[in-house]
């Protein structure tokens, strides 16, 4: 017979009390596990979405003395003697080591075109890639456009164009009209809503058509890339692309990265704050339950002290009970938290989450034990300090 027999005997006898104690801690641990699972996934989700939202890497020809007008590429009516990028350069980007991190590659050829009295910007794009990149684009006169996602590609063929808001006003064009450029007729498949950028002034057309129109066959003026950077730093991807395109200037868009990091950081802080609150509440429940449990056993503790148990023996008995209950609560809490993340979170929050993370499987019981035992120290100390005779008279 050991001190452990006293601990286990008491737990067996007071099953209801032990379960109540365990329940409080289980709920606390479950909430932390669920919060952690959902938040980690949310972070990854947010990172990915922000990475995909617009370009975070810009590839331009290596050159000097360019005035900025379209993302760093000079556009005037005279042509510069710059070594432009080749269309084939865009094809090299998905061959880098971290190719899974490349979400969209959007090459563009840019030039000025004068038709009659009007001079406007022609931007030749690969429409599917461009729409994937420019998620904030919205079409005028099209209902039910989801925020943050693609719009339905309005262009059907190489003769379709999409016009920026200001350009459309200037040219007096709406969806369904035609636009004649250098004798060729193009269909206005859509007009973009205003978004206070250079896109408002541009006529977007199929890359090959634009190359022909601008006399830049096979060439591109810049390539915008959106790279997913949660697993690998953007500088590594920039370096890899630079290695494939030594003649180009490859730059990371720092603004986008900083915004992303700040957003992700905020989500993390929120999660930590909530977790701390939840754990404090869990601690409090354990503390109160243990205190109550020890109070009920004052007489019993008095007997043990009277027959020669040291304070340290009493502490061991009570802390062993706390350990067993906390371990059970930690395991149950991990299971409950993981299941709710796996099955409930997708239903309730539309978030797909990573459940059954092996790290939480170890951390949850450890956390429960730390909280359970530290919350039990004061009640245990209190019990062991009573003079035996006072404890025996305790009603």
């Amino acid at each position: 017979m050991k001190l452990a027999n006293i601990s286990f005997g008491n737990l067996k006898r007071r099953k209801g009390k032990a379960l109540l104690l365990a329940a409080g801690l289980t709920i606390g641990v479950a909430m932390v596990v669920a919060m952690t699972g959902i938040t980690l996934q949310m972070q990854e989700d947010i990172q990915k979405k922000l990475d995909e939202y617009g370009a975070n890497i810009i590839i331009t020809p290596r050159s000097e003395n360019l005035s900025l007008s379209y993302g760093g590429v000079g556009v005037t009516s005279a042509s510069y003697d710059i070594e432009e990028l080749h269309e084939s350069d865009a094809a090299l980007i998905p061959t880098i080591k971290n190719k899974e991190n490349v979400s969209a590659v959007a090459p563009k050829v840019i030039g000025a075109h004068t038709e009659g009295d009007h001079t406007f910007m022609i931007v030749g794009v690969d429409f599917p890639s461009e729409f994937k990149l420019k998620r904030w684009w919205r079409l005028k006169d099209v209902p039910n456009q989801m925020p943050g996602g693609f719009i339905h590609t309005p262009t059907k063929g190489p003769d379709d164009v999409v016009i920026g808001a200001t350009a459309a006003e200037t040219l007096n064009l709406t969806t369904g009209d035609t636009l004649t450029l250098k004798g060729k007729t193009y269909n206005v498949a859509g007009v973009l809503q205003e978004n206070a950028s250079q896109d408002d002034y541009a006529v977007f057309m199929d890359l090959k058509q634009a190359q022909k129109l601008l006399g830049k066959e096979g060439k591109v003026s810049m390539i915008e890339v959106s790279a997913l950077c949660s697993q690998c730093p953007i500088d590594a991807i920039v370096a890899q692309i630079s290695a494939k395109l030594p003649h180009a200037k490859v730059s990371a868009v720092r603004q986008a990265m900083t915004l992303k990091m700040q957003t992700v950081d905020q989500v993390m802080r929120f999660s930590i704050a909530v977790s701390i609150v939840v754990l404090l509440i869990g601690s409090l429940i354990v503390f109160v339950s243990m205190l109550s449990s020890v109070n009920e056993r004052t007489k019993e503790i008095g007997v043990l002290r009277a027959i020669g148990f040291r304070k340290s023996h009493i502490m061991r008995v009570i802390l062993l009970e706390a350990f067993v209950v906390s371990l059970a609560a930690g395991i149950a809490g991990w299971a409950a938290g993981s299941f709710s993340v796996a099955f409930l979170a997708p239903q309730l929050m539309g978030v797909k989450a990573l459940a059954f993370d092996p790290r939480t499987m170890v951390l949850a019981p450890v956390l429960a034990i730390v909280i359970g035992m530290s919350s039990s120290i004061y009640p245990a100390l209190k019990a062991s300090k009573l003079e035996p005779i006072e404890a025996l008279r305790y009603i």
Binding site: L3, N5, G9, K299, V303, A306, I307, G308, S312
Partner: protein
């Protein structure tokens, strides 16, 4: 003297009022004595016994057991003293309800982790005539049987002093008589026994009776002479 106390006072303070349970008590008990402490309710006899048992510190005074000033020991050493020197039998038995009879008796031994503890516990139960019910829970035993288990627990560590607080108080006359007889046997076997009782007939059958009243010793009777 095995037990030697001087000028022991005990004051209880509750809700701002103080009550003097013992007002300067001194007694001496030799090894092998069979002592009874008697008196009306509130005379201080249980308080005195608790002080002798190392479970209630006096407000002032000296308490020497086997020449050890027990209340000058650090509290963990005092606990060790209780385990080794004292076998305390409580009026309400105070058995642990979720442990069997033999497990209750083993309690003082499980601290030291004695290997032969089960055998020693069974031997102790045998001494009180309850070896056959060793695996019963206290709720499955009668009042007299529970008291015997409590006595067995008090004896298992072979302490030199047995203290019993109203050991027959909760029992019928016949059972009470059996229990008292057990104490007499233990005393004959060499144990020093001090019992508190309000029963004057039982008191007369001990070696020495200490009569208490209002927190002081009013008389000491040598029953062998009378």
């Amino acid at each position: 003297m095995l037990v030697d106390i001087h000028s022991v006072k005990k004051v209880y303070n509750t809700n701002g009022t103080s009550f003097e349970a013992l007002k300067g008590v001194g007694i001496g008990v030799r090894e092998g004595d069979f002592v009874s402490i008697t008196g009306e309710s509130g005379s201080g006899k249980s308080t005195l016994l608790s002080i002798l048992g190392g479970i209630a510190p006096p407000t002032s005074g000296q308490v020497l057991i086997d020449k050890i000033p027990i209340y000058e020991l650090p509290s963990e050493k005092l606990a060790d003293f209780r385990r080794e020197y004292i076998g305390f039998v409580f009026q309400q038995f105070h058995l642990i309800p979720y442990l069997t009879a033999v497990e209750n008796v083993m309690l003082p031994l499980c601290i030291t982790g004695d290997r032969g503890m089960k055998d020693r516990a069974l031997a102790s139960l045998e001494r009180v005539g309850l070896a056959a019910k060793s695996s019963r829970l206290p709720s499955e035993l009668s009042g007299g049987e529970q008291q015997r288990v409590a006595i067995a627990r008090a004896l298992v560590n072979e302490p030199p002093i047995i203290l019993a607080d109203e050991p027959t108080g909760n029992l019928d006359t016949k059972t009470g008589e059996e229990i008292f007889h057990l104490f007499k046997e233990l005393n004959h076997a060499g144990e020093t026994v001090i019992i508190v009782t309000h029963n004057p007939d039982l008191a007369k059958r001990t070696g020495v009776t200490v009569k208490m009243q209002d927190g002081t010793v009013v008389h000491v009777y040598d029953n062998a002479r009378n």
